[in-house]
C-alpha cells in the first residue's frame, strides 16, 4: 500500500455567531470582546483529515492566515491530533478578500510542499462565501471536491462523496486535490489530554510572514482585494415581545392556544 498522504487543513478563527449582537446605539455589530472559536465547518475538515490519517497513516498539518490570536485555533487543532501547525501572519494581509486569501494560502501551501490533500471547510460563518477552498484549487491548478461528506484515500487518487441539492455524487480525482468538508458531515473529536500536553511542550507551530513565504505584497491586503464593502445596513427585525408560557404541559398549551386565538393567529 502507498504511504499515507500529507494533508493540509486550512482553518479560520471566527467570532461565535450566536454572540454577535447589534449595538442598539450605533446600529453596528459589536465585535470586540466577542468570544471566538474554530469556524464550525473547519472542525469537520480537521476530523475528515484526521480520519484519513487514522486509516492510512501520513500526516496532518494545519494552516491559518490571520492575526497572532489565531494561534489558539491552531493549538486546539494540534490537540485534536494534527502533527504541525503554520500561522501566516502579516500586517499587510489585513482586509484581504477571498482573492488574496486564496492566493496567500496557496503560496503558503506551496512553500510547505509535499501535500496530497488540502482540506477546507464548506464556508466560514463570518464571511460565508465558500470561495476560498475552490479559489486555492484554482490557484494551485489542482482538482477539487466541494461539499464533501466522506473521503476515501485511494493511494494515487481520492474519492469523495459530494452533497448536492438533489442527492450525493461520488467524485474521483487525482492528487493533489482540495476537499471542502460539508458542515455536520462527521463528529469532530475533542482535543485530547495528550494532545494538549504536546502543545504545551511547544515547537509545533511555525510562524511565517509574507516575506518568509515569498508572497508578493502587491497581491494581498485590502488594497489588492477586488471587492470592498461599501456600506452595511443593519437589518432591524420587528420587536416581537414574546409571550412565554411554561409549567404543566396541558395548561401551558391551553394558555398558548388561548393567546394565539385572542390575537387572531389561529383564525383566518
Amino acid at each position: 500500500m502507498a504511504p499515507g498522504p500529507r494533508s493540509i487543513v486550512c482553518i479560520k478563527q471566527v467570532p461565535k455567531a450566536q454572540e454577535l449582537q447589534v449595538d442598539p446605539v450605533t446600529n453596528t455589530l459589536k465585535r470586540v470582546g466577542v468570544p471566538s472559536e474554530i469556524n464550525p465547518p473547519d472542525r469537520n475538515a480537521l476530523e475528515m483529515a484526521l480520519q484519513v490519517k487514522d486509516q492510512f497513516g501520513g500526516e496532518v498539518f494545519v494552516l491559518t492566515m490571520g492575526p497572532p490570536v489565531f494561534t489558539s485555533a491552531l493549538e486546539e487543532a494540534l490537540a485534536m491530533g494534527c502533527d504541525r501547525a503554520f500561522l501566516l501572519t502579516d500586517r499587510i494581509l489585513g482586509g484581504s478578500d477571498t482573492v488574496p486569501t486564496a492566493h496567500s494560502l496557496s503560496e503558503t501551501i506551496h512553500k510547505i510542499g509535499g501535500y496530497q490533500l488540502i482540506f477546507c471547510g464548506e464556508e466560514t460563518t463570518d464571511a460565508s462565501t465558500g470561495h476560498v477552498g475552490p479559489g486555492i484549487a484554482g490557484h494551485l491548478d489542482c482538482a477539487q471536491i466541494t461539499y464533501c461528506s466522506e473521503v476515501q484515500f485511494l493511494g494515487n487518487r481520492v474519492r469523495g462523496k459530494r452533497s448536492v441539492e438533489d442527492g450525493f455524487e461520488t467524485w474521483e480525482c487525482p492528487l493533489p486535490c482540495v476537499i471542502t468538508a460539508n458542515f455536520l458531515s462527521n463528529r469532530p473529536r475533542p482535543p485530547s489530554l495528550s494532545g494538549k500536553i504536546r502543545v504545551k511542550r511547544g515547537g509545533l507551530i511555525t510562524t511565517w510572514s509574507c516575506a518568509d513565504v515569498g508572497i508578493d505584497p502587491g497581491k494581498v491586503g485590502i488594497r489588492n482585494s477586488p471587492t470592498i464593502v461599501a456600506k452595511v445596513d443593519t437589518v432591524v427585525l420587528p420587536d416581537r415581545k414574546a409571550k412565554i408560557f411554561r409549567g404543566e404541559p396541558k395548561a401551558a398549551v391551553t394558555a398558548l392556544l388561548d393567546a394565539m386565538a385572542a390575537d387572531g393567529v389561529l383564525s383566518r
Binding site: V99, T227, A242, I244
Partner: protein, 347 residues
C-alpha cells in the same frame, strides 16, 4: 489582475446557465430576470453561457426567459458538471467576449465554479446575494446578508472587471416565459482535452424522498429540529401540521441527520420562508436557521431550554418537552375545532 484601463471595454450581463439532468435550474431562470433588469439599466444585453451536452432546447428556453444570446458549448465531456473543464469554458469565453457582469446561482455547483474561476481570472466575486442593483456610478451593487443575517452588506468591485456575483436561490422571482422572444444561439467551440479533465463523477445517489416539498407556499409551517431525536418522531409534527392545515419543515441538523429530505430545510443553505405562522419545535435558533424564517409573520418556539435563542425572536414561546407539548397541541386544537359553533349559514 484584470485592472481595466477603460471600463467601457466591458459590456453585457452574463448568466451561467446550469443544466441539471436535462433541465435548467430554477436559479438560472431567476437570474435571467435579474440580468434583464441590470442590462436595461446599463444599456447592454443579456447572454447566457450554457456548457453541457445535448441541451440546445435549454438554450432556446433561456432566450424565452430573457437571454438575448446564449453561448452554447456542447461536448460529451461537459455533460455532467465538474469544476476544471467548466471553469476553463467560462474563463475562455469571458476572456474572449469581456462581459461587464457575470452572475451565478449560489447552488453547490455555482459556488464551486465561481470560487475556482474568480481565483483564476483574479476578480471579485460576492457570494449569495439577495439583491443586485446598479449604483449611481454604474457599478454593480452586490447586496448580501452578513454576520449571521443581522445586516446587509453592499459589496462593490470598482477597480476590476468582471464584476461577479452569485445569487441565493429562490429569492428572485422566475420571470414570465415568452415563447415569442427572439435571441441567438451561438455555438462556441472550446476545446476540452484530457488535460482539462481531472474529476470523474463515478456515481449519483438521489436523496431519499426528494420530490419537491414546496414549503415556501405553506401558510403555516411546523418545523422540527435535532430535538426530535428520531425520524419517526416527525409524525408528531405531521399530525400537528395537518390539524393546522400546514406543512412540515426542518432545521439543517435534522436534514443532515437524514431524518427528512433536503427540500424541508429552512435557512441560509436551505429555503427562505415567510409563512403566517412558523412553529419551531426542538430548534435552537442558530443564525443560519433564523436566516430562512425570521420574516415569518408569527413565530412560535417550543423548546425544553428556556435559553434557546429561538425564544429571543418569537412571538409565543412554550418552554417544555415537545414530546408532551406537541401531541397536546394537536389534541386541543382538534377539540377546539369540534367545539366551534357551526356558522349560521351552514346550519
Amino acid at each position: 489582475m484584470t485592472l481595466p484601463k477603460d471600463k467601457t471595454e466591458y459590456r453585457g450581463v452574463w448568466v451561467f446557465l446550469e443544466a441539471r439532468r436535462g433541465r435548467l435550474r430554477d436559479v438560472s431562470r431567476q437570474l435571467l430576470g435579474v440580468a434583464r433588469g441590470l442590462a436595461q439599466t446599463r444599456g447592454s444585453d443579456v447572454s447566457g453561457v450554457l456548457p453541457s451536452w445535448n441541451v440546445e432546447p435549454l438554450a432556446r428556453e433561456a432566450i424565452e426567459f430573457g437571454a438575448d444570446r446564449v453561448y452554447l458549448v456542447e461536448d460529451p465531456r461537459l455533460e455532467t458538471y465538474t469544476s476544471r473543464p467548466y471553469a476553463k469554458v467560462m474563463a475562455t469565453l469571458i476572456g474572449k467576449h469581456k462581459p461587464e457582469i457575470v452572475l451565478f446561482g449560489a447552488s453547490k455547483n455555482g459556488r464551486d465554479l465561481g470560487g475556482r474561476l474568480h481565483a483564476m481570472i483574479e476578480t471579485g466575486l460576492a457570494a449569495d446575494c439577495v439583491k443586485l442593483e446598479i449604483d449611481a456610478d454604474g457599478n454593480l451593487d452586490m447586496i448580501r446578508p452578513s454576520f449571521g443575517e443581522k445586516s446587509l452588506a453592499h459589496i462593490l468591485c470598482k477597480q476590476h472587471r468582471q464584476q461577479m456575483a452569485s445569487a441565493r436561490p429562490n429569492v428572485f422571482p422566475i420571470p414570465p416565459r415568452d415563447p415569442a422572444r427572439k435571441g441567438e444561439v451561438v455555438r462556441e467551440p472550446v476545446e476540452i482535452t484530457d488535460a482539462d479533465l481531472d474529476a470523474k463523477v463515478v456515481s449519483f445517489e438521489e436523496r431519499r424522498g426528494h420530490k419537491g416539498n414546496p414549503i415556501e407556499d405553506a401558510k403555516i409551517l411546523v418545523a422540527g429540529g435535532f430535538g426530535l431525536r428520531d425520524p419517526k418522531n416527525f409524525r408528531l409534527l405531521e399530525d400537528l401540521a395537518k390539524e393546522l392545515g400546514g406543512a412540515v419543515a426542518a432545521s439543517r441538523k435534522a436534514v443532515d441527520a437524514g431524518w427528512v429530505p433536503k427540500d424541508y430545510q429552512v435557512g441560509q443553505t436551505g429555503r427562505t420562508v415567510r409563512p403566517r405562522v412558523y412553529i419551531a419545535v426542538g430548534i435552537s435558533g442558530a443564525v443560519q436557521h433564523l436566516a430562512g424564517m425570521q420574516e415569518s409573520e408569527k413565530i412560535v418556539a417550543i423548546n425544553l431550554d428556556h435559553n434557546a435563542p429561538m425564544f429571543e425572536i418569537c412571538d409565543y414561546g412554550l418552554v417544555g418537552d415537545l414530546f408532551q407539548v406537541v401531541p397536546e397541541m394537536t389534541r386541543q386544537l382538534a377539540e377546539r375545532k369540534a367545539r366551534r359553533p357551526v356558522p349560521v349559514a351552514a346550519r
